[in-house]
Amino acid sequence: MNQALSYPLTFYIYYWIQFALPLFIVANILMRTYKPRLKESLYIMFVTLFITTLRTVPAFFGIFSTIPIPTVDFSYDNLSYILHRVLIILFLFFYIYKLKGYPVKKAIILTIFTDLFVFTSYFLGLLLRLLLNIPATYFNPLQPLLDFLHAFQTLVLSALFALLFVKGFGNLRKLLQTDQHLQTVLMIGSIITWLSFQIMSTLSFMLEDGYINTWSRALLMGYTIVSLTVFFLYIKYLKAKYNTQEKESELKNLLFYVNEIEQQQTTIRKFKHDYQNILLSIESFFDSDDYSGLQEYYYNKIKTSSQTLTQQSFSLNHLSKIHVKEIKSILAAKLIQAQTMGIDTNFEANEDIDSIFTNSIILVRILGIILDNAIEELDALGKGKLQVACFKQNVSVTFVVRNTCRDHIPPLHELNQLGFSSKGEGRGLGLTNLADLVHSQPNLTLQTSLSKGYFIQKLYIGEL
């Protein structure tokens, strides 16, 4: 009979606190869901107790050789170790993916991060023991107490890590939401880190003398910390690159806009010149009392020139009312693009818009998708109007984008189906993506309408 088995119940609880419970607590912190729900709590209790039972109970009956001290060769115990690890990871993934409703990529990232946090905390405890020179053997009478201390340390430390991570990398979350590429990079990176960690850990578990030589574990932990650091530096670099790209495109769009304004200036200068000439001519008609000549002059010259004044070139005038740079930039880019494509484009803003209470990266992407869809539809149609407006209602800001659409456009509920596109496969993800982006911000509401030949998207941005 092994020493460890002299306290089966405490060992059971120890194992539960050390290896099963922290995973779910950390996962919930990472997902920022602090309020427990009954169904989820039941699932967590069931899964953690099941895994703990699977791992510990056979040992009580001596089915596997030992629990804490593994044998050197690849025995049942190692098999049981790998089996329970795989199972609990799967259960955790299922919890995040199904019960919490996260998309696959994000669920994988969350699962792996959770596991890494818990295991790093666990190894930190081992390292601490090593540094304090407390022999980690099962012949120590204080062993149960030490184990419990270690278990609580894992629980608290991993929760603390997760909290710090959530606080420190809050903007990483926002970036992840907007960038599919970054999601993939993060997923692959974390899988590689995690797998190498798992392999090394299992190997050391099998080859070393378990708890007795913990230096290899310390090395392993060092490896994890280093790889995680490298990994985060890389993400930071990616983020910086992303930011510069954003700024560059913003600048490019604004240059576009400045160009447009300069052209308008020229038109106005020309008009001013014409206007002075017109006044002089009228005066000469008056001087000679030539009223019929004046009449003819008015209808032929003045009326036509006033018509050109009201046309196109001034339809984006109101963009000057938008004082939020990023928003002005995306609107200018898309509206000028539409105009150069020959689409009848108009922008309305009667009030100054100084601030918008939302993440501007997300708002830019949302407006980009909405305007792209409208332009694409109008381009395919070959006629029609694009009208965009921005206005305030109390404190909230509303964007309205309205475009003419085909006569035989499918009903709205079919357009909104996942992945549907009227233009063939793979191009309809815009609308679904749009809904996710809108939902990622608590104060955004999107209303989509199809009415009297117009497709209308209204985006409301409320107070935070």
Partner: protein
């Protein structure tokens, strides 16, 4: 009685509109009267302060040569007189379709310098009159919810069904006849709001008023716009019993 108010800073155009309206009212005997014709927006606001119960029909110039422009004025009028019917008078240059329609919910707009001014004013008066009559007989009841810090009122007759978004919890998509909107909420609570609402599925509350047909075999409901909603097996008998009488 519907009160007509005009706010136009150019005296000549004001007189023209005024004359058109009085002429039209005399000829067609509509239940309306011209109570104010002014060039200054503050006069309109003062009038509303003095007569807060005004049920008004407003002709507003957009550019009033005043710190309050026509759109601001309309916003303030709406705060006082929520059923205000507003028609903007504007030049082609200042035309803001979407702001008129979606911010102010203006009834219509008339473009200045248009030769059809008379007929357009007449049309607006007709429409306003009909709306006024309807408003008296049926005050449409609305479903209200809050989203993005705003209160939304959707007439029950517009509502087809509510469904929870399967990908994200607590997000409800409201399907209306011509549009869709998503907001945060709980489907169970919605079912209790109105007697014509019925929870036909764990994630769907349907407005029984707007059902076209119930297909018992496939356990689905066809809504009046052709959308298909599924019904759980336990609820189908209850649903059929409910919509039968």
């Amino acid at each position: 009685m519907l009160d007509i108010l005009i706010c136009e800073d150019d005296p000549r155009q004001r007189e023209q509109i005024q004359a058109t309206i009085t002429h039209y009212l005399k000829k067609h005997h509509l239940d309306m009267s011209l109570v104010l014709s002014t060039g200054c927006p503050t006069d309109v606001l003062d009038h509303l302060k003095r007569y807060p119960d005004t049920n008004g029909f407003y002709f507003l110039d957009v550019d009033l040569q005043h710190e309050i422009n026509g759109i601001d004025l309309a916003t303030r009028i709406k705060e006082q007189d929520s059923h205000a019917k507003i028609v903007f008078i504007t030049t082609h240059d200042e035309l803001s379709h979407l702001v008129f329609k979606y911010k102010i919910e203006a009834m219509d707009y008339i473009i200045k310098g248009n030769k059809e001014l008379k007929t357009r004013v007449g049309e607006c008066l007709e429409v306003a009159h009909t709306r006024y009559i309807n408003q008296m007989t049926t005050l449409d009841e609305c479903y209200s919810f809050e989203s993005a810090g705003q209160v939304w009122n959707i007439p029950y007759s517009e509502i087809l069904f509510f469904e929870t978004d399967l990908s994200t919890r607590h997000r409800i998509i409201l399907h209306m006849k011509e549009s869709q909107i998503a907001f945060r909420g709980f489907i169970k609570q919605i079912a209790k709001v109105n007697p014509s609402f019925f929870q036909c599925h764990k994630s769907v509350v349907v407005n029984t008023e707007n059902i076209k047909q119930v297909h018992k075999a496939s356990r689905t409901i066809e809504m009046i716009n052709g959308e298909i909603v599924s019904v759980s097996s336990r609820k189908i008998a209850i649903l059929i019993a409910r919509i039968k009488p």
